[in-house]
Structures are given as C-alpha cells and as structure tokens.
Amino acid sequence: MGVEFIYPEFEVIRNDNRCIACRVCERQCANEVHFFNAERGVMMSDETKCVNCQRCVSLCPTRALKIVKSDCKLRENANWQDDTIKEIYKQANSGAVLLSSMGNPKPFPVYWDKILINASQVTNPSIDPLREPMETRVFLGKKPDKVKRDANGKLLCELPPQLELSLPVMFSAMSYGSISYNAHESLARAATELGIYYNTGEGGLHEDFYCYGKNTIVQVASGRFGVHKEYLEASAAVEIKMGQGAKPGIGGHLPGAKIVGDVSRTRMIPEGSDAISPAPHHDIYSIEDLRQLVFSLKEATEYKKPIIVKVAAVHNIAAIASGIARSGADIIAIDGFRGGTGAAPTRIRDNVGIPIELALAAVDQRLRDEGIRNNVSLVVGGSIRSASDVVKAIALGADACYIATAAVLALGCHLCRTCQSGKCNWGIATQRPDLVKRLNPDIGSERLVNLVKAWQHEIKELMGGMGINSIEALRGNRLMLRGIGLTEKELEILGILHAGE
C-alpha cells in the first residue's frame, strides 16, 4: 500500500443476478482471486491477483462473470503512457528485471496483414479442391541440384535424409518443464495423427513419449539438457537451437522450483537446481564451429536424420543463414521477433529482433542469389496465426511453418502472458499436478488436429483460388503476393509488387 500500490489491471465483474455461488470460479483460480463470503452468502473477488486468463469466465455455468480492463487511469500522457509508468513503479518496488511471457504484444507492423494473395479470373482457371486433387505434402531437407546418373545412365535416386509433412506446418519447440506433460502428450499425439512433427524444445524427451519418436524433432540447445544417444536416436530430426525469436541473444532460465520429478529426470539435472541455458553455445563461435556440431550430430545419428539449425531473426539474418546453409545443416528454422516464450525479460522480448516476414524474404533471396537455396529447407515461425499466414510465408519462400502460440491457443491458452508464474490455470505452462490435470490430452490432441486440419482445408482453398494444385508450385512464387500500404523499401525487401501493379 502507499507508494508501492499499483491499482489492479483488471476488474472482475460479477452479475449478482446470475451468480449461484457454486464456487467453480474459486476452485478453478490458481491465483486465488475468487472467494466465498459465508456471512453474506456471496462470491467476492480480489482483483489484485487477477491475470485475466479467463478460466473462471469460461467455466462459470451461468455466464455471471466477465473480466474487463480497469478504467482507473493515470492522467493521460502520450509520452508517459500508463503501462510505461506502471513498469517504472514495479521496478522501483522490486529492483528487478521485468519478466514477460508469450510473444511481443507491441503495435509493430504485421507484414502478413499488409500482403494480399492473388486469385485466378477468366484467363487462367481456378481449381476446386473439393473436386480435384490438391497436394499439400512437403519434404524438408537438402535437395539435389541436378539429376545424377550412374555410368549406365541409370538414375541415382539416393537423397539426403528428408522429413515428410502432410502439410507445411509443424509444432515448434516448447520444452517439457516450460509446458506440462499433458501439453506435450497432446502435441505428440496430434503430430502423429496429422503426419507432421512436434519439437521437444531443450528439455529432453520424457520416456513416455519415445513411442512418438518418428514424429518428434529433438532439440540440442546451449544447456544440452536431456541430450543422450537414445534421445537422438528416437527422433525424426535433430534441431540445434542457436536462438529464439522472443529473446534473441539471451539464454534461458527455468527456475529450480519447476525442476521436479520427471522434469529433473528428463533434463538429467538434480531436482531443485536451476536449469540455465547459456546465451551462446560455449563451443560455437563461428560457422566452422557450428559445422562441427552439425556433423557431430550427423555422426551420432549415422547420417540418417536431417539436422535443423534454429536461429532468431536478427538484423543480418541473410548472411547468418548463408553461413548455416554452408555448415552442412539440412534445414534452417528462423524465428521472428513475435515468437512466444515461457518467460523472457520484457525489454528483450519487446525490442530485439526483426519481423519474420522481412527475415524470410531476405534469406530466401540471399540463398537464391548465392545458388545455395537447394542446400537447405527454410522453416519459419514467430507468429504464424492462420492458414493465410502460412500461404503467404510459402509464397515468400518458406518450405514450412512452425506454429506454437496458435497450438497452445488450441489447447486452451487465453494469452494472459503470465506463463512465468507457473500457475497456468489451463494446465499448459505449469508443473503443479492439480493444474496439469486440467488439460486432458484426449481433448487437447483432438483440438490440435481440428485446428491443423481446418488450416489444411483453407490452404487448399487459397491454392485452388490461385490455380495452383501443389504447394511446391507456390513456394517462392512471390508473383502471387501484392503489398498494400508498404513503402518502396519494404516492397523491395519483401520482393513483391504493390497492389495494382
């Protein structure tokens, strides 16, 4: 109270005519916002603890609840806005770095929303995906530059290892520890059913999930948590994580409180010890060093699995990608600055990195110019929000997209952005057993499958409209895109024309 007091960000509005005091809200709130006043026989709430996760709103059987943003405001000031001032208060109270979760919420331009897709009219036929075959299958990995034959003229068909996807969408890395066992199980089961891949993140692979190995990408990050021979062997591909879009240039820190039981065993570190991923890989200071790790992993997996290198989209991403394409990696994953996270310093999340749209266009162009585009497949992530974002990404040159925020939304996440508290009311970003059980993987995997199948239908519709019946024919087909409200420079980097041209 006093100088330290900050008025609650949200208000809980309870319609007393509807509230039947069933106390479901109270039982479901891990933040302990709601409580029953026995003397008055009514439900009450302590808004100071509310994070606006909407769990109570969703479960209230009489729709008696809503959460609204508080209108108790400081005096208006275009320069010193409410949030900015309150962050100052918080830091003056705590002396600490501000922490945030999920993706950058600031009003930076979203280039996907400034790009429009073409459709066929009169002079070229569009295709009805309900009547004609439509191919959304893609293969990720190094592709041959030319047709090769043996001495007798027979075709040489041996390809470097490839990942086969039923559509160009995969679930991107979220570690066991940052998300729950049930969230991992949902992702693993959905990926298996869909014929795509999910990614373990850097927390190792829980022993129960080895059975989903052929749809699993395992990650090797700077902390090397949970990396061992069986882990690599269980996977379909191995990803070296150099960076993450939400927090380029810094490492990770999973607090000791979350390193319990299975998480500790899976990460291969003692219970209660902090899991600290260093900012750099301490053995990688150059492309040559990266090449050593790429080939170490290839040796360990007998050259049977593609190696992915994941980097955050930063200023000189094109040059970095060019280096990675020459390092022996099969796939480059680029994560844009809007990518999500289970926890990141607020200043980093909101101010570091570049948009994935620009990074993708720059990288694809650079690799083409240098004649090494076939060396690698490109996977992009960092806020792919819909099927049209996927189609635009493919047309800009991506081979596939990584989705994670969209996936956790399907699992129930309401984007309250307080994963770092470990009290996720939806059972996703938590290790508390009573909260983890709120996510039933039967429901979770079903919802993920629904989401991705819906996107697949939409991708086919959009392709059909353009008169394209194979996703391969869309890749890098920037003529199918037009910019709207973009500057000459932005159009130049995106490599697209303006609408009307």
Partner: protein
C-alpha cells in the same frame, strides 16, 4: 447398455456436475432462477480430499441390491436403468445403507431421488457428462 463412468484422473473437483445435475432435474429454463440462493440436491456427488477427487452417481448395477432391499417397492429396473417412484418411497433410506458405492442421497423432501441418466428430464442425455469440462465423466457402452 450405456452408463455414466467417471475417470478420477481427469476430475478437477470443480463440482460443475452437481450443479448441472440439479439444474437438469429442476425442470426450469434458466440455471440462475433454478439454483440461486438455495441449497442444491444433485444426484451426483463429488468426493474429494486434498489430492484426489471423483464424481459418484448410480452405477446402474445389473444386479441391483437397492432394488432388492427396497421395502416399499419404489425402486425398479427398466431397460437396465434403475428408477425410483417418489410416490411409493417412504424415505426409510434402506437403499442408501445398502448401496455399495454410496451413490444415493435423498431429495429435499426426504424421499429418494436418484440418477436416471437424464432420460426422464428435458436434458435427454446425462447433464453431468455434457457439462464436464475435462471429460472426466463419460456416457458410454463398456
């Protein structure tokens, strides 16, 4: 025969099933009107302690001991569903005593009521199952 089964693993102890049950059997259109400001008498009950919770309702046994023990002949079995006739029930609570699952509890008036799978009310399917947010209660053939 389809029965209501509970899976303790996914029960959150939210007690929504109790309120959905009480509402479904209230005969009213609106939950707030039906349940606001009064004690509820659901036909399903959540049993819980700090670490475990699960819902308990009539198992609709194939060889129901409650039916056999009813002194008033109020309990009967129709197509596998065990039903109670409140007109005949004298409120002796013998069925409560003999039920091996502790699934039975009397109504507000003191005579027995029990889960009849929502087949007799306007819900038409078990309201506890329909409203369970985590599929901890299912209605299926096993």
């Amino acid at each position: 025969m389809k029965r209501v089964y509970v899976n303790e693993k996914w029960c959150l102890g939210c007690h929504l099933c109790e309120y959905n049950c009480a509402f479904a059997n209230s005969g009213m259109q609106d939950m707030a009107t039906a349940l606001k400001g009064k004690p509820i008498y659901p036909r399903i009950h959540v049993e819980e302690n700090d670490t475990i919770s699960y819902a308990v309702s009539c198992r609709h046994c194939t060889d129901p001991i409650c039916v056999k023990s009813c002194i008033a002949g109020a309990l009967s079995q129709e197509d596998g569903v065990i039903r109670v006739d409140p007109e005949k029930c004298v409120g002796c609570l013998t069925c409560v005593l003999v039920c091996p699952y502790g699934a039975l509890a009397p109504s507000e008036s003191g005579v027995m009521q029990k889960c009849e799978l929502c087949l007799q009310n306007s819900c038409g399917e078990p309201a506890c199952v329909k409203g369970c947010p985590n599929r901890a209660i299912v209605y299926e053939e096993r």
